[in-house]
């Protein structure tokens, strides 16, 4: 297990190094930079002033130097200074992280709580009316983008109730119920889509397992449906489901952009788009690295979970 973990960690570090190069290069190759944006807000361009600002921000240095400086600073915990806000990037990013993590966690919770049980029921009641209803429900979830569903929720609420969730962040200590609503609705919009995928994977994995000899044996021994399904079948069918949950969580972190925009939640994803538009390299680089770390950690967690769930991985 230790070797397995060490291998995974090694790959994770290499992935991060690769990611840092890709992020850095992509940003620099994109047309325009922060100085263009600054002049854009001024509505003109001046070559001399442009040079002075580039020097002030350190983006006149060779790209290799800029990259090495970024990595060196990153390793010492210095994320640099936001070009747009003229403030340490960490001070700008820090308050955004809990918002996105909370929303992603809640969304995945909704997805699992909705997806796994419906997947199990659908498999157990295969080809019944209930199965068809649940499959249509999941297909609808896959067909509706989260941002569309989010906007429909907002428009529905304002049309019928003249009310929408708070448009500024409400902390859980400030007002727990308002906080719950503020995060619950977007989590529902995002989680529904993910639940559809989880439901379908659970259903197909379970159906496959249900045809195995050992399940027939369990039925033959006269064990209850609950024991057969939950203890014998689901435990063996859960590996692909865990994989999907891991991938969905990682996907969610980067994919919350539009949902955070629609519900006006001050999270990392929404901020990232603005930072990209502003070519605010210190903010973009560090947020994307943060997302990469979350993705890698969630994959690592899933890999470790494999080891826990499947002894063949543990002892292999």
């Amino acid at each position: 297990m230790k070797t397995y973990l060490a291998q995974r960690l090694g790959i994770a570090v290499l992935t991060l190094v690769g990611m840092s190069i890709v992020i850095f290069a992509l940003l620099r190759f994109a047309p325009g930079d922060i100085v263009d944006i600054l002049f854009s807000t001024g509505g003109y361009v001046n070559a001399e002033e442009r040079k002075a600002i580039m020097k002030e921000l350190g983006i006149d240095k060779p790209l290799v130097t800029q990259y090495l400086e970024w990595i060196r600073n990153l390793l010492t915990g210095d994320l640099g200074k936001s070009y747009r806000y003229d403030q340490p990037a960490w001070d700008v990013i820090r308050p955004l992280i809990p918002v996105t993590l909370e929303l992603a966690a809640l969304s995945i919770m909704v997805a699992v709580l909705l997806g796994v049980p419906t997947g199990v029921i659908s498999a157990v009641r295969q080809d019944t009316t209930l199965d068809y209803v649940l499959r249509v429900f999941s297909l609808a979830g896959l067909s509706m983008p989260a941002f569309w569903l989010g906007m429909v929720i907002i428009l529905g609420l304002v049309t019928w109730l003249q009310w929408i969730p708070p448009v500024t962040y409400v902390g859980p200590r400030e007002n727990f119920w308002l906080h719950a609503v503020q995060f619950g609705l977007p989590a529902l919009a995002v989680g529904y889509r993910s639940s559809a995928l989880i439901m379908r994977i659970t259903r197909s994995a379970l159906l496959e397992v249900m045809r195995e000899d050992y399940i027939r044996t369990a039925w033959a021994k006269g064990q209850s449906e609950g024991i057969v399904i939950w203890r014998h079948a689901l435990k063996n069918a859960i590996l692909p489901v865990v994989t999907v949950i891991g991938i969905e969580f990682a996907f969610l972190i980067g994919g919350l952009v539009v949902t955070e925009n629609v519900f006006n939640l001050p999270g990392v994803a929404r901020f990232l788009v603005q930072a990209i538009l502003w070519r605010d390299y210190p903010i973009v680089q560090n947020i994307v690295m943060f997302i990469a770390v979350v993705v890698i950690l969630s994959n690592l967690f899933v890999d470790m979970l494999y080891g826990f769930l499947d002894p063949r991985v543990r002892y292999g």
Binding site: G32, D33, S40, T41, N46, R84, Y85, L155, V158, V167
Partner: protein
């Protein structure tokens, strides 16, 4: 320094008195103190509160409550003009030496938000910095409105409460430019870079918190120099990037006031249906849709081709199709009754592109034929446009119009980061553009957008004759004569067609009925100080 003449001082005092009186709320309404209001912001502050380093309403409008100007446009008057200028930091002012010196007499009871006293040193510091003078005590990173002050030779602060702007030649418009929302006074003891992260002003509200990407919160300034103001305890600009959510937030009452320029005709109609009590103030934005053509490169170096483009585009059709009727016809200056200097409808009707669409297109085809362009040998061009919906809507319409006269344009979307650099360098043939004017003033517009060498003259149009016309109108002291000159210039510009104006955008400024004392102006940049606004709830 020469002493001001008695007449000039009297005129200044009269204007100041009129201004102070006009700040009084409407009769029959007793303003109530207290409460806060939430105002819509469609994006976060672009460069913090550094108004002098940007030309975007995203910075200037949410910064207005923090600052004061020397003079400002009367908050209670809808149309900005020389007659509606009132004193803020200047108690009175006077023109001397045949409009070559402008003297401001400053208030003595003004404190900066950090408690330090305001003096003439702050005024000199600000405007020396803006015009990038060698005498400046600090330097701005960029100064978009440097050209506004090109005629200022020297700024003097002979005593702590007097400031003199000495001009190279008479320029009555200087006062209008100083009254713009883009002309706040900075504190000399605060480095200009500090305004990118915070705000030390003399305005009615003090900055409490700026939570990046989320909100900007102000609280009442208890030391504000106008006694009894502001009425509100605080205001909060809430940043909502998604348009649908912004409208829903206003409709649900989470926001009390929309952002200037945000409420188009369709949005107004939807909101009105949902909330019949919502208040809408139809005003002009002083933002025009226009076509920029590179006059230095073929084919638009040919005046006939440019004029043909001017003729080809059906302005009325554009107003209906792209604005659903939420715009009006106008040339370079805002038309009456929205503005002071614009052309009358009857004069406009004689301008290229303003007549009957079929006749105008026939005229366009004739001009193009003279330039060797026909349906058989169409002109193929790239239409550059900023990759933003409001630009794209207009560009799509224009492309269709041009096709009808034999110009085949393909859309070339340019990201915001590249747009101004592309336009300034002249790396384009033809473009669909939007132009906002900081103040409804001919100098501010002509020198910025049509003068030889101006970095914002994207079409790189340069005519010595027209430059002389600019100079003449700028120095003209007689208002009637000057208006006539300005109209002649507009006619000439439409004929030379470096930047044909297609429409002047309207805004249906929206707010809840409990927000009182808020008057939208025909210029999105020059209101939103909120010192006279109160909450009736």
């Amino acid at each position: 320094m020469r002493r001001p003449t008695l007449v000039a001082v009297a005129a200044g005092v009269a204007l100041a008195v009129v201004g102070v009186l006009s700040l009084t709320p409407a009769i029959g309404q007793t303003p109530k103190s207290g409460g806060t209001i939430n105002i819509m912001a469609r994006e976060d502050l672009a460069q913090g509160f550094a108004t002098h380093e940007t030309s975007t309403v995203a910075t200037s409008t949410p910064s207005l409550p923090c600052f004061s100007n020397l003079v400002f446009f009367d908050p209670s008057k809808k149309t900005d003009s020389m007659d509606t200028i009132v004193g803020e930091l200047a108690e009175k002012w006077s023109w001397q030496d045949n409009y070559k010196n402008l003297v401001f007499f400053l208030r003595k009871d003004v404190k900066w938000h950090d408690g330090k006293p305001f003096t003439s040193k702050d005024v000199k510091h600000t405007f020396d910095m803006v015009r990038d003078s060698p005498e400046a005590t600090a330097k701005l990173r960029i100064s978009p409105r440097k050209d506004w002050y090109a005629n200022v030779e020297h700024i003097e602060a002979p005593d702590p409460y007097t400031v003199v702007f000495r001009l190279k030649r008479p320029q009555p418009s200087l006062l209008l430019m100083l009254a713009s929302g883009y002309s706040p006074v900075y504190a000399a003891h605060v480095p200009p870079a500090a305004y990118r992260t915070g705000c030390i002003g003399t305005g009615p509200f003090k900055l409490k918190e700026w939570r990046k990407g989320e909100f900007i919160e102000y609280v009442k300034n208890p030391d504000f120099y106008v006694k009894g103001r502001p009425y509100l305890d605080g205001i909060r600009y809430v940043v909502i990037v998604e348009r649908g959510t912004r409208t829903a937030a206003l409709q649900s009452g989470q926001l009390d006031v929309a952002f200037p320029g945000e409420t188009g005709r369709t949005a107004m109609e939807q909101l009105k249906k949902a909330v019949p009590t919502m208040v809408f103030q139809p005003v002009a934005q002083n933002v025009s849709d226009n076509i920029i053509m590179n006059t230095k490169k073929p084919p638009f170096d040919n005046p006939k081709v440019r004029l043909a483009v001017g003729y080809a585009i059906d302005r009325r059709g554009l107003i209906q199709a792209a604005h659903q009727g939420g715009a009006v016809l106008g040339a370079a200056m805002l038309p009456k009754p929205y503005g002071v200097w614009g052309m009358l409808e009857k004069d406009l009707a004689a301008m290229p592109g303003y007549g009957k669409a079929e006749d105008m297109k026939a005229q366009a085809k004739k001009l193009l034929a003279e330039a060797g362009i026909t349906a058989q040998s169409p002109l193929k061009v790239e239409m550059s446009v900023r990759a933003i919906a409001i630009y794209l809507d207009m560009a799509s319409f224009v492309i269709n119009e041009l096709k009808q006269v034999g110009i085949e344009a393909t859309l070339k979307q340019i990201e915001t980061a590249q747009w101004h650099a592309t336009a300034t360098r002249g790396d384009y043939q033809i473009g669909a553009n939007l132009t906002g004017l900081g103040t409804d003033d001919p100098d501010a517009n002509f020198y910025e957008n049509y003068a030889c060498g101006s970095p914002r003259n994207y079409s790189q149009y340069c005519s010595e004759e027209v430059m002389k016309m600019f100079e003449r109108q700028s120095q003209e002291l007689d208002a009637k004569k000057r208006t006539a000159m300005v109209i002649d210039i507009q006619k000439r510009l439409e004929q030379d067609a470096p930047r044909p104006i297609l429409a002047q955008r309207l805004d249906y400024y929206a707010h809840w009925p409990h927000v009182k004392g808020l008057v939208a102006h025909n210029n999105i940049y020059n209101f939103s100080r909120f010192q006279d606004v109160w909450r009736d709830k």
